[in-house]
């Protein structure tokens, strides 16, 4: 099975965010919010790092 770079990052971000959300917050609402925040940070960080490497390579 092969995943491309983005789908691997997406899957990683999804499952890691679920666990982070559940374990780092106390109420259900906070869990969802923190999970979404982590997911956005994971994926956003990946995209920003990708563009940063593209700029450095030029």
């Amino acid at each position: 099975m092969t995943l491309n770079h983005f789908s691997a990052a997406f899957v990683f971000a999804l499952f890691a965010s679920i666990v982070f959300g559940i374990t780092h917050r106390d109420t259900a609402r906070e869990m969802v919010r923190y999970g979404l925040y982590c997911f956005a940070m994971f994926l956003g960080g990946t995209i920003v790092a990708g563009w940063a490497m593209w700029v450095l390579r030029r």
């Binding site: 099975m1 499952f15 679920i18 559940i22 374990t23």
Partner: protein, 138 residues
């Protein structure tokens, strides 16, 4: 008389909490999410189980490599610490001799990292189950 009954009830409740503080992390390590389920946090437990199990299995399917205890290299030992966090899934993987893929392409390396991260996430889930058991978290 009444105070004595209340005292006995409190001692029994404390013992139950102490037992749960040992059992929940242990079973949570063996089966991801089970530490939450045994404390009736069904949805949280199911989500943890699905997340950690899927991440580990995807790592295996991507031909990731599993680390063993006697790796020799310091980085291999760190990889082992991560992998062993997955508990029962790691034990089954070792027993079945899965995860022996030679890392020949980038996604196989991702698979290796997926399995390590699954184990590390399970360590966090185990700590969370313990906190629930001692009443630090609801």
């Amino acid at each position: 008389m009444e105070n004595s009954t209340v005292g006995k009830t409190r001692v029994a409740a404390d013992q139950q909490v102490n037992m749960m503080a040992v059992i929940a992390p242990a079973i949570g390590w063996l089966i991801p999410g089970a530490g939450h389920m045994i404390q009736k946090r069904w949805i949280r437990g199911a989500l943890l189980l699905i997340s950690i199990f899927t991440l580990f299995i995807l790592g295996l399917l991507m031909q990731g490599r599993i680390y063993k205890a006697n790796g020799g290299d310091i980085l291999d030992m760190l990889g082992f610490v991560g992998d062993v966090g997955a508990g029962g899934i790691y034990i089954v993987t070792l027993a079945k001799d899965w995860g022996q893929g030679a890392i020949a392409f980038a996604t196989a390396d991702y698979g290796t990292k997926f399995m390590i991260v699954a184990g590390l996430l399970n360590f966090i889930a185990v700590a969370d189950a313990y906190h629930i058991a001692i009443g630090k978290k609801q």
